[in-house]
Each structure stands twice: as C-alpha cells, then as structure tokens.
C-alpha cells in the first residue's frame, strides 16, 4: 500500500482524447517527494527544450503535494507546472483551496495533460470514472460562474473545480487558473490551459488517504495546532502587523495597511508615498473593508483564515485573498473601494493580480508619455478608474491594444517600440515583479531576486527577517525562541546585523552568510512545494509552525519513508537543482540573473558580481549558473549531467550565449480556432 500518496497519475492526451491511469514508481517519491519535485522530473524527462510553451507537446501538470489530504494542518496546495509563454522557462504556480485533497480522494496524485483538444472541453474526474466533456457552452464564462455551472450540470455540489476564464481561453500571458478564492496565477499557466482548449478540471473523490504511522502523525499535528494557537497570541514584535503573524499576509483580517501602502510603489511601480497612511485613510479604508467583507475563509484543513468573502453592493459575491486587495488600488493610484470593485471582474476573467494591474499602469504611463495615443486606444475613457476597467476588458479579450498588453510589459514594450522598453522596468526574466523600489542594496535579496527560478520573491523568501531590527537588544530578544533555524549560526547573523555602520547592508550579512541565508529560505519553499504544505504555515512567515526540525518527521509519519534532516535537505537540493537544470537546458544563463534595474538606488557592481560568483559556487554551479557534473552526479542526477554534456552546455564560451528573444511557436502549429482565439497570436516577432 502507498501512504499519503495514491501512487497513480492520470495521463490525459487531449489531441487523441485518451485517458490513462499510470502507476508511479515509489523510488521517485524517495528521490523527489511529490508536487514540484516529481513535476520537475516529468518535465525534464518528457518535454525537450525545443518544445515551445504553446505546443501540443508541452505538458500541463496539476499535482497534489505529497501530503495533501493527510491530517497535517494546511496541506492542501496544488502545484501547477508547465512552460511559461512569458518567460519561456519552467512555469511555477500554485494554489490552495480544496482541489488537491479531492484529487487524492479520487485516487490520483497528478493530472498530466498533453496535446490540444480540437474544441473547448473540460475534464470530469469522479473517482475511477474520468471523462472529457464538451465545454462549448462554457466558452467566455467567468471563473466563478463556470465552477457553479459545472457543479450544477454534474449534479455534484461537492465537486472541486479549477477553471480558466476568458483570459485563459484567449491565451493572455497573465491568465490564471482559478479555484474558489484560490488561484494559480503566475507565469501564464492559465494561458497554457487555454491553449490546450481545456476550460476546467472538476474533481470528486470519496476514497481513503492512508497514513503510515497514524498515532505519531496525530500527535505531531496536535503540536502544530498548539503552536498555531500560541503564535496567534504572540505576534512577532518589531515588524509591521501584516508580517507579525503566520499564514499568508493577513490582508483580509488586518486593516492596517501602512506597510504595503508606504513601502511598495504605486502606479507602474513608480511612486512611493511614504506619508500615505494617516488616520483619515485608515478610518476610510477600515470602513470600506468592514462594509465589503462578510467572512474570513480558510483552505482545506487549515485553521488560518487568509481569504475573505467580499460583497460589493450590487455585485456578485466573490472571495479575495492576500495582496490582490491592494495591487489594483495601488496601480491605479486609487482607493480600497475601487480595489474591491475591480478584483471581482478580474477574477471572473481569471488574471494574475500582480502582473495585470502593473501592465495596465504601464499602458497608462505610455499613454501619458504619448507613446500610446488615442489612435492606438480608441474609446479610452478619461476617468482614471474607468480606464483600468477598460484596459482589463481589452486585455482579457485581446482586443486592440489589449492584444499587445496581454503579453505582459516585457513583450508589449518590444512590440510597441518607440521607447516603450524604458517603461517595462520592473521585470525579471521577462516577468513582472512586486512593485518595490528601495534604497540600499540588500545582499540576501540581491541573490534571491537574481537566482530565484520561481521568479516571484514571495515564493523563496520568508525565514529570515527582511531588515535588521534597530537595537541589539531587540535582535537578541527575537532569536531567543527562534527554534526554526536549521543551525545556530543564523541567530548570530541576525544579532550582528545592524541598520547602519560596518555590520549593515550591503556588506553585511557577509557574502558567505548571505549565501547560507538564501539557501535556507529557498530550501524551505522547495520542501513545501513538494509536500503541498502551505507556505503560510511553513516557509513564508517568520517563526512558522513547520520547520526543518519537524518536517522530516511529518513526512516520515505520513508516508512511511524514513527521512531525517540531512535526507530532506538533500531532496530539496535535488529538486532545486533539477529545476535549474531544466531552465539551463532551455537557455537560461548568468546574463538573465539580475534584479529589475531600478529595484535599488544604491548599487555595487563589484560586490554584486562577487555575490553571484560565490553563490553559484556555494550551490555547486559553474560561473554561468549551470550545475556542475559533480553536483548533479552527487544528487543522483547523472542523466541530467549526461544530457547537458551532450548538448555542449559545459563547453560554451560566454560570448556564445545567444538569447532567444521571442516565443516562436505561436504562429506555427496552432490548430484552427475560433476568431476570438486567433487574436491571441498577436505577438509580432
């Protein structure tokens, strides 16, 4: 018997309309756990680097985490992996909610989708019975609406549905996959789903998920719940309220938005308004939030309440989570009322709440600069908020200028030309980043921004405070109950970190310490992404309930594997290195590894080069950021080093590193589609 996992993947070929159930090799669980780890293994094995994102040969994998559905609180993440139309690299997106525990109960760990359906379909997984069903009647329907319609037509109110909206159908690069209040938003996974003509996947399962060492797991879960209660009563001192607790940032529960509104940049990641938050704003925003929010809501088997039900007067009820509360508001330089109003429509379209508002603010800047004109944007309203609704509609429909903007700021700028490139200033690896513009370079964040392959800082940061506390006493107080550190030395790094002077940014933490801190933070995420433990209870907040000292037991008790800390560290390293190798094979090199140019005002080119040199060495990568043969072989990834060797990757000279600057496949090999979708091939090369 397999424990925690089911040992079965669903293989769906939409071109042929075939459905197969494949048993999986338990050895792969030992090597990669599940979730992201085994997804990466499948993508390495089955998607050669020549395959373009919008090719039928690209795979779209929905995976439950290894522990999804077990009693371990907060293990509910779905990990969606494919290749991104925007970055052309491995796309990495996840969602919480209820979908993956339901998939496990239906008897599967993953749904692996290949090919392209000739017409819009959805997948219905009902325990052993799996069908590809017509979805033509759902074309253009909003995400929440689609979920409801599918449950009704299946007469299965308990089915869990993940779906795309119009944006995904139109292969908008920032299209998300939505599921209730949750969404896999980043890197265009919704566009890939739309390209495969797959509108939704509905799941219903009523089978058992087995636990290997039940009594021990139960006891550990109780400890975790006790710690969650303790942390609820003991917020971390010295950090803004939004960072003091656990869970995803508590945007729904906490109305104090001083930190986001004064530290993050408004508009197209441009304007920092340091005195924005005052009593008047606080009063108005709190009133708005309290008027719109009806209830805090949770994901499967998680005591945190990171989501909220929103009822904007005379609009449909929807659910919101996290920072989407502010991204539209701040991009439009508007207020919270506007934020609540526009997110409903954005969610129905199914778009990423980071990239979309930023792309719209970028368009507005181009308009104000005269680069885009009324000729490019006929009918563009004069009212600021209406402009954002207008742009949102155009992007989701790929109409007019929206067809260009739908490719995100990087590609849109190159298509528009006339100096528009200057305005796409906030991307890494062609993907929009958090709107943060700061002063002094932080060596830890420098490394994370450069080398993080999830291309989203929030998915690799978290365990180490973002900035030093003002006094040594406060720092000493902080480290007292810091049981989560994998090694005592991290406490010293933090205690010695000063806001100013010799022991401050950018030269402290030292290069060596910075490498270790980055490695620790990132590894914790890679573990969560394989197990499906929510980062909100683990790798993301300070002092979380799950950490390096209890995760090995958690995994061992649930699965029956015998994993200790060193073993888990090695698995995380293997998964992390494999993701890097996948991207290296697709052409990613050192030249791509840089933060947005204007992220920090004060830069230190010499130090930065050294940081990167040393970090690569620390990870066992060569000077181009390519994992060395020794590193790969040591991790049991011999087949990877052999492949890289055969491709001549190790023999490249720096000069030879040619960058592919455009996604090639879109014009070629696109099956005939309706006119609405035709428009999505707009990326001029």
């Amino acid at each position: 018997m397999r424990y925690a996992e089911t040992g079965v993947n669903l293989e769906i070929d939409l071109s042929r309309g075939s459905i197969e159930k494949e048993g999986t090799d338990p050895r792969l669980t030992e090597l990669h756990l599940g979730g992201l780890g085994t997804n990466a293994k499948i993508l390495w094995d089955r998607v050669p680097p020549e395959v373009e994102p919008f090719s039928p040969d690209n795979l779209l994998i929905f995976s439950a985490g290894l522990l999804a559905g077990t009693p371990a609180p907060g293990t509910n993440r779905t990990i969606v992996s494919t290749f991104s139309p925007q970055t052309l690299l491995m796309a990495y997106s996840m969602m919480g909610g209820f979908w993956s525990p339901e998939l496990k109960s239906a008897g599967y760990d993953k749904v692996i989708i290949r090919g392209k359906s000739p017409s819009l379909v959805y997948l219905w997984i009902n325990n052993d019975k799996v069908e590809i069903r017509d979805a033509s009647h759902l074309q253009g329907k909003g995400c929440l609406e689609t979920e409801e319609l599918i449950r009704q037509e299946l007469k299965e109110p308990k089915a869990q549905v993940a779906t795309i909206g119009l944006a995904g159908e139109n292969r908008v690069y920032m299209a998300s996959i939505e599921h209730g209040r949750s969404s896999a938003s980043r890197l265009g996974v919704g566009a890939i789903m739309g390209d495969k003509m797959l509108k939704a996947i509905a799941v219903r399962g009523t089978k058992d998920i087995n636990i290997a060492r039940p009594a021990e797991l139960f006891e550990l879960c109780n400890e975790v719940l006790e710690y969650i209660k303790y942390r609820a009563e003991n917020p971390i001192e010295g950090v803004p309220p939004i960072l003091a607790g656990i869970g995803a940032p508590q945007e729904m529960a906490i109305h104090d938005e001083k930190w986001h509104t004064t530290n993050f940049a408004w508009g197209n990641a441009r304007h920092r308004i340091k005195d924005f938050w005052n009593e008047e704003v606080e009063k108005e925003w709190t009133e708005t939030a309290e008027r719109m929010q009806e209830r805090l809501v949770s994901c499967y088997n998680c005591p945190m309440k990171c989501g909220g039900t929103i009822k904007y007067p005379e609009h449909t009820r929807y659910m919101m989570k996290c920072y989407s509360k502010l991204t539209y508001t701040m991009a439009a330089m508007s207020d919270l009322d506007f934020g609540f109003r526009i997110v409903e429509r954005a969610q129905q379209y199914g778009v990423d709440a980071f990239s979309t508002p930023q792309t719209m603010a970028f368009a507005l800047e181009l308009y104000e600069a005269g680069i885009l004109t009324d000729q490019d944007m006929p009918g563009f309203p004069s009212d600021n908020e209406e402009r954002f609704f207008w742009l949102l509609d155009k992007i989701a429909r790929r109409e007019g200028i929206g067809d260009v903007l739908a490719n995100g700021t990087y590609w849109a700028a190159r298509q528009i030309g006339k100096g528009a490139e200057e305005y796409a200033h906030n991307t890494i690896k062609k993907h929009e980043q958090l709107p943060l513009k700061l002063g002094m370079l932080n060596p830890i964040y420098y490394l994370m921004y450069c080398t993080g392959e999830k291309i989203n800082i929030t998915q690799i940061e978290g365990q180490f405070p973002q900035a030093p506390f003002p006094t040594r006493e406060e720092r000493e107080e902080f480290v007292k109950d810091w049981v989560q550190v994998p090694d005592e030395k991290f406490k010293q790094y933090f205690v010695d970190w000063e806001p100013r002077g010799e022991h401050s940014n950018p030269y402290y933490p030292t290069i060596e310490a910075s490498c270790e801190i980055v490695d620790w933070q990132e590894k914790m995420h890679y573990i969560d992404d394989a197990t499906g433990v929510c980062a909100g209870l683990s790798s993301f907040p300070l002092k979380p309930p799950y950490h390096m000292h209890n995760l090995p037991s958690l995994i061992s008790f649930a699965t029956g594997l015998d994993i200790d800390e060193a073993g888990l560290w090695k698995i995380a390293k293997r998964n992390r290195t494999l993701v890097r190798a996948i991207n290296v094979r697709r052409g990613m090199r050192r030249i791509d590894e840089k933060p947005p140019e204007d992220h920090w005002r004060k830069r230190f080119p010499e130090l930065e080069a050294k940081l990167l040199d040393e970090y690569y060495k620390f990870q066992g990568w060569n000077n181009q950021g390519i994992p060395t043969k020794e590193t790969l072989d040591e991790l049991g990834l011999d087949y990877v080093s052999e492949d890289l060797e055969q491709r001549g990757v190790y023999k490249e000279k720096k000069a030879k590193v040619a960058k592919r600057e455009s996604p090639k496949s879109k014009k070629a090999k696109v099956a005939k589609r309706d006119s609405k979708s035709e428009k999505s091939q707009g990326n001029k090369e």
């Binding site: 559905g69 077990t70 009693p71 609180p73 209820f98 109960s105 929440l144 409801e148 109110p157 209730g180 209040r181 009523t206 089978k207 058992d208 998920i209 087995n210 636990i211 039940p214 009594a215 797991l217 139960f218 719940l225 969650i228 209660k229 009806e294 209830r295 805090l296 809501v297 949770s298 994901c299 499967y300 088997n301 998680c302 005591p303 309440k305 039900t309 009822k311 449909t316 009820r317 929807y318 659910m319």
Partner: protein
C-alpha cells in the same frame, strides 16, 4: 441523572476549513488515525461560499423513510440548502453514509477509554465555530448502541431480519 453532551455550533464563526471532517474520519478509521476521508466523517460542513452559508452538521439518527416534503430555511435573508440543518442519515440524500457500504454514520462524540476532554471536531476547530458543553439532565442513562448494532439495525430495516439472518448464516459457513 444523565449526562448530556452538547456541541454548540456557531455558523457565523465557521470558515469552511473542514478540519472537523478530516479529524473525525481519521479518529473513526481502523486502526485509529490510519486514514482520512471526509466522506466517512460524521460531521460535514454544508457550505456555499457564494451564498455565504456555512453549516456544520453532525450526523444524527438513521431514518429509513424520507420526510413528507423537505424544508428550506431563510435566515436573515440568506437561503440555506435543502434540509441543511437536518442531522439524519436518510434516503433523500447521500449524506452520512459510508461510501463503501452505504451504511449510516452517526456521531458518537468520540467516545473512548480514557475519555477525550472534548470530541476531536471541537478540539480541531480553532475558530470556535464548534464548542463543547456537558450538563446533567433528569432521566436515566441509556445504553447506547455500538457501531455494529447501528449498522445491523439499518440492514434489518432495509432487508428484514430473516434475510439478514440467512445471509449471516451463509457468510459464517463460507
């Protein structure tokens, strides 16, 4: 005097996490905690986020016949699902029935020796949507039917005593 055990349910505090379902099914697995499956849980959260209705319902008595008609409650302008507040395992719906055998499920307040301080659904509800109370009431302590008795009674009601007996005889001989 008899002891009455009460789980108080505050629907306004429920966040729909279904931890109660998870831990209930784990507790009632054999061996204990060896599997989870909300479908086997004796508590279910009937919720519809888009209507903002959240109702944790605890499995009550098995009933062989449907009611004469059904009920729909509207409270404070919110319409709840059909029979949402009913605790019965009944032919009108697929709730509180074991997914394999179709036998009815009924809450036993997590009775075991030594007794738990509170049923596990209450312990795992960190939002306090579920809270627990015990009180004394006039009357005699009843013998509660065990798992197997409940199951057998349901079979007898469904197939008649004779069929069940004959089947048992046959099974025990084979």
């Amino acid at each position: 005097m008899k002891k009455v055990k009460v789980i108080k349910i505050d629907v306004d505090k429920c966040n729909g996490c279904r931890s109660c379902e998870v831990i209930c099914s784990a507790f009632h697995a054999a061996p204990k905690y060896s599997s989870t499956n909300p479908e086997r849980s004796r508590i279910r959260v009937l919720f519809d986020p888009l209507k903002d209705t959240y109702v944790p319902v605890i499995a009550g008595e098995y009933t062989e016949a449907e009611c004469n008609g059904r009920d729909i409650y509207t409270i404070n302008g919110k319409e709840y699902d059909e029979c949402a507040f009913c605790r019965a395992s009944c032919p009108s719906r697929q709730l509180f029935k074991d997914p394999d055998s179709d036998l009815p499920l009924k809450c036993d307040m997590c009775e075991e020796e030594p007794p738990l301080p509170e049923p596990l659904c209450v312990q795992w509800c960190l939002s306090d949507a579920l809270t627990y109370e015990e009180r004394e009431e006039e009357g005699e302590e009843e013998d509660k039917p065990g798992e197997m008795e409940i199951g057998l009674e349901a079979l007898v009601k469904k197939y008649g005593l004779k069929t069940v007996k004959d089947t048992l005889d046959r099974v025990s001989k084979s």
